[in-house]
């Protein structure tokens, strides 16, 4: 099918099988390689993107389902060379090590922070609940939680 969708604010198209994973459309057809594959089974969250404004594992979305829809990937978080608040905080707080999970974390955390989903008695516990679908093996998560809290504070 001729897939038409909006990616990071730009109209894009690709000639693909509708069963193709959105992840592969992004990486192979659109050459947006920031979105990573860690498991292919919806466990690790490295392939997280926003689909119509909600987080999704792009390894578990069929291309056909994205026709006419809007996708945001890690490449769409910064404005030109200006990083968004979550990206800046990840950098400043040491929230990225090997970096392979970082795109998924940056997308999910940006969504969580921008929609003010952390507002609660215990924002750090909320970060841990809301980001639990993004596995990081390097950091022990502590510095990522620090970064997300800092970014949320900056935006509030």
């Amino acid at each position: 099918m001729k897939l038409e969708l909006t990616v990071n604010g730009e109209a894009r198209d690709a000639d693909v099988n509708p069963w193709k994973r959105l992840l592969d459309v992004l990486r192979d057809d659109l050459r947006l390689t920031g979105t990573k594959e860690g498991c292919g089974e919806g466990e690790c969250g490295a392939c997280t993107v926003l689909l119509d404004g909600e987080v999704a594992n792009s390894c578990m979305v069929a291309a056909g389902q994205c026709h006419g829809r809007t996708v945001t990937t890690v490449e769409g978080l910064a404005t030109g060379d200006v990083l968004n608040a979550v990206q800046r905080a990840l950098l400043r707080c040491g929230g990225a090590q090997c970096g392979i999970c970082t795109p998924g974390i940056a997308v999910c955390a940006s969504h969580v922070v921008e929609h003010k989903l952390l507002e609660s008695d215990d924002p750090r516990a909320r970060v841990r609940e809301l980001l639990a679908g993004n596995i990081c093996r390097c950091t022990g998560y502590q510095l990522i939680v620090d970064a997300v809290i800092e970014a949320a504070r900056e935006l509030s």
Partner: protein, 714 residues
């Protein structure tokens, strides 16, 4: 920036990583590259007779490679050459999911379809999966006795009879057996590699790896070429933890052979299930520990007997075992020590390097023993450790006299200062507290660093920048950034003027592998020496624009490999951990409510990066304690998916309280020693000690799963 060392400079590769611009192997543009897939063994032991090819696949569209296509020696050269890159037809497959043949195709989907359509024909042989069956040589898999390697350490006695006499003089002997489970590294980027043969006749290999020169060495043997015949480049690497120490040589062999056959570049990226099924894990270990004390509670003798399952090939097992036995007596004073270690062959996929490298396996037993001693004596477990711990002036199990940089009092004191209230049980949650105290040798064992003779080069560039050339890789631990800081500090220039180039064997000297908590201390030390010397040359304006330094051991360091006595390591890191747990009485689930970890790193070149290293290692240890495991069924990994081979999520991790302690090492860069591995060593024992404190049942096997606690309590 005046003093780059000691500042939390953001990672130099950070912007590329938070924007998704960093290119990992699978992200690289490779027009025209074909994709590789691996046909694997479906039995644990058997003779490969041949292959059945399903005629429904158009085989003219793909390229097949077998052992016969290997130009040099069919071996992954490491310590021994016992592991083939591909099992030849007529040869013996030694484990499940061993590589038998390779396929390359224009698309990954076609390569995998062809792989599935190429069925190996194997005549099964009896297989062995336990160390008992291995030691009883129920099948002979290696040498004369299935023992890949054994070590014996003796301190304060000359014979077993003398040793038993020392044990007999004790008033109490705590005699227990322990088991630590296999563990998956679970880097989030699966193994990935690409090769291409260029018109100059050389093979260019790029991929996800820790040790470019290990791959280089292996490829020289496999491809039958000299050092110029193959060039290895590390791509941005998505985690390693030891899992990309030796295994990448296997992928490199495969893509190199396929690329030769296909006459074009070939890329191979493992799927997660394939990575879980075929690549190395932490060695499972069985330890018998006797801790003998006198009436005053002094340790009079320690006896450790540790057996590890090495799996089907030798790989790095001797070195893992070595580090295991060298740490097995723990950081405690004891005049009489005997440590025996053996690593044996089974038909499991080979076990290999994983953060801690044998030390976590032997730390768990000794820190459980110390807990049992505290219970036996009714002594506060932290006070007991303070009373018995090694300090400057004491000797280790190998007779090494400790001098400088012994952080015992500092790390134990840091924990004591953060004790807080003891956790209190309720009718639904049983709570408890556990401690652990441990040490970890930094750098290669014994004279290993001299043999390695690691080198590093620093050059002044015409544009005013400086280039660091080393084969140390950044696998997330921050090597690029700390080298930048050390070089900037030594040269007295801004870090922005430092460029650490990509590890490519044609451009960088062999600095040794990126392992063993040695990158900062050893190679960072070379960077510092280069920088100080180059600064002098520039000041003298003598025309010298490039300096290369080679490792030299600190004075007074010597180790006897024959008797395993002397200075096992130039220096040790020291650490202590407190863990509070709550156990749910309905479900037996263990929640870690506090984890305080104090780690002596000598000097934190970059405090933020050091904190990240400690915390990452801590969570791997907590995961190993409670929920990680590799389950083998008839030699095959039965939980080879991320759904079933689980690691902790954000929600499983407590708020980590990390204390970086700095007791400087006079011969490290600005006083730095190792940090990478030590956080993995002890927290599992602290968890077990806390659960025992909460429930009153011994936790001597990992993982401490709800199922195991339910069994213990019923």
């Amino acid at each position: 920036m005046h003093r780059p060392v000691g500042s939390s400079l953001p990672r130099v590769d950070g912007v590329a990583k938070v924007t998704g611009r960093a290119r990992y192997l699978d992200d690289l543009d490779a027009p025209g590259a074909w994709h590789g897939a691996t046909v694997r063994s479906n039995v644990a032991h058997g003779r490969l007779v041949g292959f059945d090819r399903d005629p429904s696949v158009d085989w003219s569209q793909v390229v097949i490679a077998t052992a016969a296509d290997i130009p040099g020696k069919n071996a992954i050269a490491l310590i021994e050459d016992d592991q083939p890159a591909l099992v030849p037809v007529g040869g013996i497959t030694m484990h499940h999911d061993e590589a038998l043949a390779l396929i390359a195709a224009p698309t990954r989907a076609l390569a995998f379809a062809a792989m599935r359509a190429m069925k190996p024909k194997i005549e099964p042989l009896p297989a062995i999966f336990t160390v008992e069956d291995s030691l009883a040589t129920k099948q002979l898999l290696y040498g004369a006795d299935n023992v890949f390697k054994q070590f014996l350490i003796r301190k304060g006695h000359a014979s077993d009879a003398e040793f038993e006499a020392a044990i007999a003089r004790a008033t109490h002997v705590i005699d227990e057996r322990y088991y630590t489970s296999p563990q998956e590294q679970m880097y989030i980027e699966p193994q990935a590699m690409m090769a291409e043969w260029a018109d100059d006749g050389r093979c260019y290999i790029v991929g996800s790896m820790q040790c470019p020169y290990y791959v280089h060495k292996a490829m020289k043997v496999l491809l039958g070429c000299d050092g110029d015949g193959v060039v290895i480049t590390q791509s941005v690497t998505g985690g390693g933890f030891g899992g990309k120490e030796e295994y990448p040589s296997m992928l490199a062999a495969h893509v190199a052979v396929l690329a030769k056959r296909a006459g074009r570049a070939v890329k191979m990226t493992y799927d997660r299930d394939e990575d879980l099924a075929a690549t190395t894990k932490r060695h499972p270990a069985w330890t018998h520990h006797r801790l003998a004390v006198d009436a005053a509670g002094e340790i009079v003798a320690i006896d450790v007997d540790c057996v590890m399952d090495g799996g089907a090939y030798l790989t790095l097992s001797p070195v893992v075992l070595s580090r295991g036995v060298l740490h097995a007596a723990g950081p405690y004073r004891c005049p009489v020590v005997r440590v025996r270690g053996r690593v044996v062959a089974t038909n499991h996929p080979p076990h290999g390097a994983f953060r801690g490298f044998g030390a976590p396996q032997t730390t768990f037993p000794y820190e459980r023993q110390i807990q049992k001693l505290a219970r036996l004596r009714g002594e506060d477990p932290l006070e007991l450790r303070k009373r018995l711990a090694l300090r400057s002036g004491d000797t280790t199990a190998t007779g090494q006299l400790l001098g400088f940089s012994v952080g015992t009092d500092e790390v134990l004191g840091a924990i004591e200062a953060r004790l807080g209230p003891k956790p209190v049980s309720t009718d639904r949650k049983k709570r408890g507290r556990g401690f652990a105290f441990y040490f970890h040798g930094a750098g290669f064992t014994g004279s290993g660093e001299q043999r390695l003779a690691g080198k590093c080069t620093l050059a002044a560039l015409p544009d005013g920048r400086f280039e660091v050339r080393s084969s140390s890789t950044d696998i997330g631990q921050g090597a690029l950034t700390i080298f930048t800081q050390i070089a900037a500090q030594g040269l007295g220039v801004d870090p922005e003027r430092i460029c650490v180039i990509e590890p490519k064997t044609s451009l960088v000297p062999d600095s040794g592998p990126t392992v063993a908590s040695r990158t900062c201390m050893v190679v960072g030390g070379l960077v510092e020496k280069c920088a100080l010397e180059l600064r002098d040359h520039l000041a003298a304006n003598d025309g010298v624009l490039e300096v290369t330094k080679q490792y030299e051991p600190p004075p007074g360091i010597s180790f006897d490999d024959a008797t395993y006595t002397g200075s096992a390591y130039p220096v040790y890191g020291w650490a202590a951990c407190l863990v509070d747990v709550a156990v749910d009485v309905d479900t037996f689930e263990v929640a870690i409510e506090r984890c305080v970890h104090a780690v002596d790193v000598g000097k934190a070149i970059n405090p933020m990066i050091v904190k990240g290293q400690i915390e990452g290692g801590t969570l791997q240890a907590l995961g190993w304690a409670l929920l990680e495991n590799v389950i083998y069924k008839d030699g095959k990994v039965a939980n080879a998916t991320m759904t079933n081979c689980i690691v902790p999520t954000f929600a499983d991790c407590p708020e980590l309280e990390t204390i970086t302690v700095e007791v400087p090492y006079p011969f490290g860069p600005s006083g730095a020693k190792g940090v990478g591995e030590i956080p993995m060593d002890g927290p599992a024992a602290a968890v077990a000690n806390a659960v025992e404190d909460a429930l009153g049942v011994a936790c001597d096997s990992l993982p401490i799963s709800p199922e195991s606690l339910q069994r213990s309590l019923s």
